[in-house]
Symmetry: C2
Subunit: 328 residues, 2 copies
């Protein structure tokens, strides 16, 4: 063999020393470092529908002690390390989905928006920038479908000065989530535990965007796109089954957060799941159904672009990303 481990790597510093006596190369200005990333979108077809996964951002923060309520922090760290992620940090990706049916332009969830982006140094709040890079115009959006009322899904509805980001769109919300969030008794209970931010933001956002359309589980939110009740994460948490021609796609929303944790360990209960047991039951049923149908899944919190398949792997599941294609 022609390589040994010792000799694999040579540091640039050592190399510079070793080559210090060689003649200078012809003078040419160095190419400055680019610093920037490619625009964050990825496009594919499902039947006649054009789907665009749009990166809203990635947020990384110190791993909370109780990110998983029924696993030790060390176990969570190990699962992160096994996925080659920093073991002392949580990494959350946010990927809203745009569907162009050819007749309607539909946005599924909005990301953190300008409010959520404050103080994150561009790590989040990139949805509109990437949405425009993908060739879209917020004024041309016909429908915004909200899956549930967590802030990373609804705060992108409004600008910082409370103007609608999608001025001409019908906003649709799950009837179950609406009833839960608008119930004063539920809000009072949450306030006692200091977890009423969902209620506050919902009332704020839908105080500006008045009378959103309430949609029901089992019914369509648009032609070929059915709302599926997947409660647990929140009471009204909703996923979507899209079919066009023979093409199928499940938009899972937050059935799992980071795949390296919650696809791998479906029994783990995320801090942000309001009912951990129900969320787990929903997750297992949803994945088993996707596996039975061999249907691809678009996931809000999996690594971008969040398109892939789930399969059984021992006691848990495994996430298999779809191959990136340069044409659609």
């Amino acid at each position: 063999m022609n390589f040994t481990r010792r000799k694999l790597f040579v540091t640039a510093a050592a190399a510079t020393a070793a080559t210090a006596l060689t003649p200078l190369a012809p003078a040419r200005a160095a190419m400055p470092l680019a610093g920037g990333q490619v625009p964050g979108f990825y496009r594919y077809k499902v039947g006649d529908y054009e789907i665009t996964a749009v990166m809203e951002g990635v947020r990384r923060f110190p791993l909370p002690d109780a990110l998983v309520s029924n696993a030790k922090k060390d176990e969570v760290s190990l699962a992160l390390a096994e996925a080659y992620l920093p073991k002392d940090m949580m990494t959350i990706t946010y990927t809203p989905v745009v569907v162009n049916t050819g007749k309607k332009l539909i946005v599924f969830d909005t990301g953190n928006g300008e409010l959520g982006a404050k103080g994150t140094n561009g790590a989040t709040g990139q949805f509109i920038k990437n949405f425009k890079a993908a060739g879209f115009d917020p004024a041309k959006v016909d429908t915004v479908v909200i899956s549930h009322f967590h802030l990373d899904h609804v705060d992108g509805l409004l600008t910082l000065d409370n103007k609608p980001v999608f001025p001409n769109a019908e906003v649709m919300v799950p009837e179950v989530e609406w009833k839960f969030a608008m119930d004063d008794a539920n809000m009072a209970k949450a306030r006692k535990l200091d977890v009423d931010i969902l209620f506050n933001r919902a009332r704020h956002n839908f105080g500006v965007i008045k009378n959103p359309t309430q949609y029901q589980w089992g019914k369509e939110v648009a032609p070929g796109i059915t709302a599926i009740g997947t409660p647990g994460h929140t009471p009204g948490h909703t996923s979507f089954a899209l079919q066009s021609g023979s093409g199928k796609l499940l938009i899972q929303t937050d059935v799992t957060n980071l795949s390296a944790l919650f696809v791998r360990h479906p029994d783990w209960h995320l801090l942000f799941d309001m009912d951990g047991n129900l969320a787990e039951q929903t997750r297992r049923k949803f994945f088993d159904m996707a596996i039975a149908e061999k249907t691809q899944i678009q996931a809000f919190h999996h690594p971008f672009p969040g398109l892939g398949h789930v399969e059984k792997d021992g006691k848990g599941y495994r996430w298999v990303p779809e191959m990136w294609l340069p044409t659609i």
Copy 2:
């Protein structure tokens, strides 16, 4: 639970029929389908160096009977299906790598170029387009490092009318590959078997780009970037170990082709491997070393952007893509 399998999907046709009697929505021009994909590049840092993986294309063709010389076509089809790829097609991604050291702009391999792109309807030959989208200028390239002389690595050196694509670059080639390809006896042997295209193209390309610099295994091709002999795929096939500060990266070139086949089944011998046994030996040693060092790998033929880790999985290995990040 709130969903059943039967009700998951509703076809758009059925939906249209069901909603045919609802009043028309306010007239607004439909957003035309975009049709295009995001530019094909992905950027990340390794120490002080900026790495840009640049998509050259993806080619899909009917699965050859003997794509794997020591496995049955059915077994190969099964492995493709297990990766959710079309089971009767081979899918090859081409991803050259650009390294900006801050002082030098270096391109590792060139893709199929204009010649290779002919007749592929834009499926390949996209390197220069994506290279420019990433902010680079071919005239600013200091060095082009060629890993081996297969056409999908060297044909991008020249335009269709035989002009250098990188007019100011030093072109560097592996000494071992050069000696092999320029040996008339080797070429005569290959011609008898009608497999002399590598020789023909090498002599054509390096007839235009005269006297490329020959580099040696175990030595640097640029500061901090060491050539590693990884023969088998071709006699002079080369990989690269890059280190900057504490950052490390292995540029594996063609140690494996499609990961779903040859990472999963390291014992499979690819039709294009000139010495299948040696290629397998190299592959196992290379991966075991990467695993021991926990070093990330940049792979030419894995799904774009081709950045990830390899780990043991039963008798074979598993490819774990790195998480896509919106900032570098």
